[in-house]
C-alpha cells in the first residue's frame, strides 16, 4: 500500500458513547421494581482512519451517523470514550493538559451555521484577534497588521474589522469563521458542513477559498459533509460512515468510479446530479435506523438489496479490498 501522504492525524479504534443517565424519578421507580435502563447512543463505534499531511479527506454520511462527533473529537472539543487520537505520531490523549492544548490549537474547526457560530456582541477584530493574542501567537502591538493580513487572505475587506457579525451576509460571515480558525496558524482544518447553509453561488466562492488556502498555506482538511458533490470536488480520499461505523474508505477517484459497499453505491446513485435528467428515482427502501437501537449484524442489512443470513448476525469488519481501499461488507468474502 503506497501512502503518498505522511499521516498528520490518526484515529485508532475511536468509540464515543453518549449515555442518558437515569433521573431521580426513574431511579426511584427502579428501586421499587421498575425496569428503566440507561439509554446509550453509540455515536461512533470503533473507527480508525488517518489523515495525511496536506491531504483533503472527505467524511460522508447521513444525519446521525456520527460524522460531526468525529470532527469534534479530532478538534479536541469532545473526549472519546475509548481509543486514541494521534497528532504527528504523538498520542494526544495521554499528553499533559498544557501540551494537549497547544497541540489541539493546530486543529481548528469551521462550523456549519455562520449565524450561530459567531458571537453577535463581538466586533470582527475581536472575533478573529482574540485567540492569537490569548495564545501568544501574536504580539498585541502587531495585532492590527496581522488582522489585515488574515482578513485579506480570506477575502474580507480589512476596513470592516470594527463591524459586528450581523452586518455581514452569510458568505462573508463564513469567511469570518474561516479567518478566526486561520488566525491561530493551524495545520489542520475541520470543516463541519461548512458550506451547507450557503447559497450555491456563495458556496462556490467558499469552496474556491478552501482550495486557495490549501495551496498557499499547505493546509490539511477533514471535510465533513453530506453533499457528495462538494466532497467529490475537493477530496483526495473519502471515508463513508453509516450509523457510527465506517463502511468504506477509498481514494475519491476509486470511490466515485467504482463504489464497493452497497450503501456507498446507493448513496452515489441517489445523489441528484445536474447531468442526470428526468430519471426514474429508484430509492433504497427504509429509514435510517436509530443509533439507540441499531439492527443486529451489519447495520445496513435491513435496507441492503444483497443482504444474506450472515449479514443479520455477524457484523462485517473493515477489510482491505485493494491497495488503499477498505470496505466493510461480507460480499467481498464471497467474491474472493
Amino acid at each position: 500500500m503506497t501512502e503518498p501522504y505522511a499521516p498528520l492525524v490518526g484515529l485508532t479504534n475511536i468509540t464515543k458513547r453518549f449515555v442518558k443517565s437515569l433521573d431521580l424519578t426513574t431511579k426511584v421507580v427502579n428501586w421499587l421494581g421498575g425496569r428503566y435502563r440507561e439509554e446509550i447512543v453509540h455515536a461512533v463505534d470503533d473507527v480508525s482512519f488517518t489523515v495525511g499531511e496536506g491531504e483533503v479527506v472527505g467524511l460522508v454520511g447521513e444525519s446521525g451517523c456520527g460524522k460531526s462527533t468525529i470532527g469534534r473529537m479530532v478538534a479536541g472539543i469532545l473526549q472519546p470514550t475509548k481509543g486514541s487520537i494521534q497528532y504527528r505520531g504523538e498520542d494526544l490523549l495521554s499528553l499533559p493538559k498544557a501540551k494537549q492544548r497547544s497541540v489541539s490549537l493546530k486543529s481548528q474547526m469551521i462550523f456549519q451555521d455562520p449565524f450561530a457560530s459567531l458571537n453577535p456582541r463581538m466586533r470582527v477584530k475581536d472575533i478573529i484577534g482574540e485567540a492569537p493574542v490569548a495564545h501568544k501567537i501574536i504580539n498585541p502591538a502587531e495585532l492590527d497588521d496581522y488582522l489585515d493580513e488574515v482578513m485579506t487572505l480570506c477575502g474580507l475587506e480589512p476596513g470592516f474589522k470594527r463591524r459586528y457579525a450581523h452586518q455581514f451576509s452569510g458568505g462573508q460571515r463564513q469567511r469570518i469563521g474561516i479567518a478566526r480558525a486561520l488566525a491561530v496558524k493551524p495545520d489542520f482544518l475541520i470543516c463541519d458542513e461548512a458550506v451547507a447553509a450557503l447559497d450555491v453561488s456563495i458556496q462556490a466562492q467558499i469552496l474556491n477559498l478552501f482550495m486557495k488556502l490549501r495551496e498557499e498555506l499547505g493546509l490539511t482538511y477533514l471535510l465533513i459533509s453530506h453533499d457528495l458533490g462538494v466532497v467529490e470536488h475537493l477530496s483526495d480520499r473519502v471515508v463513508i460512515m453509516y450509523l457510527g461505523r465506517l463502511v468504506e474508505v477509498a481514494s475519491a477517484e476509486d470511490l466515485f468510479r467504482e463504489p464497493n459497499h452497497p450503501y456507498t453505491k446507493a448513496l452515489l446513485e441517489e445523489v441528484p446530479r445536474i447531468d442526470s435528467r428526468r430519471r426514474a428515482f429508484a430509492p433504497v427502501k427504509g429509514e435510517i435506523p436509530s443509533p439507540i437501537d441499531p439492527p443486529s449484524g451489519c447495520y445496513f442489512h435491513p435496507r441492503c438489496p444483497h443482504a444474506t443470513e450472515r449479514c443479520k448476525v455477524e457484523s462485517p469488519v473493515l477489510k482491505e479490498i485493494a491497495p488503499g481501499r477498505q470496505s466493510a461488507c461480507h460480499l467481498n468474502d464471497a467474491t474472493g
Binding site: 450555491v200 462556490a204 466562492q205 469552496l207 453533499d227 470536488h233 445536474i274 428515482f281 429509514e287
Partner: protein, 324 residues
Amino acid sequence: MTAALSVENLNTTFFTKAGEVKAVDDVSFQVDKGKILGLVGESGSGKTVTGFSILGLVDPPGRVVSGRIMFDGEDLVQVPEERMRHIRGKRISTVFQDPMMTLNPVLRIDTQMIEALLAHEKMSKEVARQRAREALGKVGIPSPDERLRAYPHQFSGGMRQRVAIAIAILHRPELIIADEPTTALDVTIQAQILFEVQELCRDSDTAMIWITHDLSVVAGLADDICVMYAGKLVETGSVDAVLDHPLHPYTRGLIGSVPSRNTRGQPLNQIPGMTPSLLNLPKGCAFRTRCSFADELCEEGPEITSPIADRGVRCFHPHMDRTK
C-alpha cells in the same frame, strides 16, 4: 397540452418602512397538467413569495399589486377570499420545507387528515379515515392503520414529509406547490420522496411547481425550469435546454457553481459578489454588477425575450453561440 395554471405579469410588493420591496417583479409562466415546473433561485430571489402569491397567502405589508393568476378560467388575484378558501387546500395544495412546523404537534395524524378532508367535502368520518389511509399508503408509509394513530413527533423527518405530502394529495388537487420539500432531508430519504412525487404526478395528471435552490434536484425531476434572480424571471425553458445551453449569464454562473465530478481539482466557476438586497437593487438589470458581459445597455432593464423557440431570457447579451 392544457395549462393547469398560468401566471401572467405577476407583481407582489412588500410595503415596508424601509421602502417598497418588489419581491416578485413581472413574473409569467405556466404549468401544464401532469408536468413538473422547477422554480429555481437563491435565497431572497422571490421564489417562495411567488408560491405564496398563487395560494393567496401573502400577508400585509405585502400584496399582489398587479398581474393575473389564471386557474381553470378564474383569476385567483380577483377571487374573493371566501371562494379562495374552497380552492386552497382542495384544488391547489402545498407542501412546505419543514414538516415539523406544518403539522400540529398536539394532534394525531388521523385528526389532522380527517379535519383537512371534512373542511372541503361532506362525508362520514369513516369514509374520511379510509381516504386518509389510502393517501398514506400512496406516499409509501408502511402500516398506515397504525401510523394514523401516531403523533407527528413519533415520525422521522422523511416520514413527516410524507405525511405532509399525503395531506396535500387528499383532495386529488390539480396543482401542488412544493416549497423546498426535500431540502432538510438526507440523500437516501430525499430520493424516496422524489420517487413518490414522480409517480404521483405521472399517475394522477397533477401539475406541480417545485420551488428549490438546488439545480441538481430539478435536473432529475422537472420538465421545465424557471430561474429567478432578485424577484425577476431571468430564464425559462425546458430542463434540457436550460441546463445544457443556458442563455443568461446568471444561469451559466449557477450551473458553473455546482461542484461535481467534472470539476474535480479545478476552481469552480464562481459568480463574483453577492445577491443584492431587494431594497437597494442596481438600476436596470439586477445582475449587472456581478456580470462580466454588462455594458451601458444593461443600465436600462432588459425585458424577457425569446431568442429561441420555447425559451425566454431577460438579457441583452444572451450566450447564443453554442446553441446556433
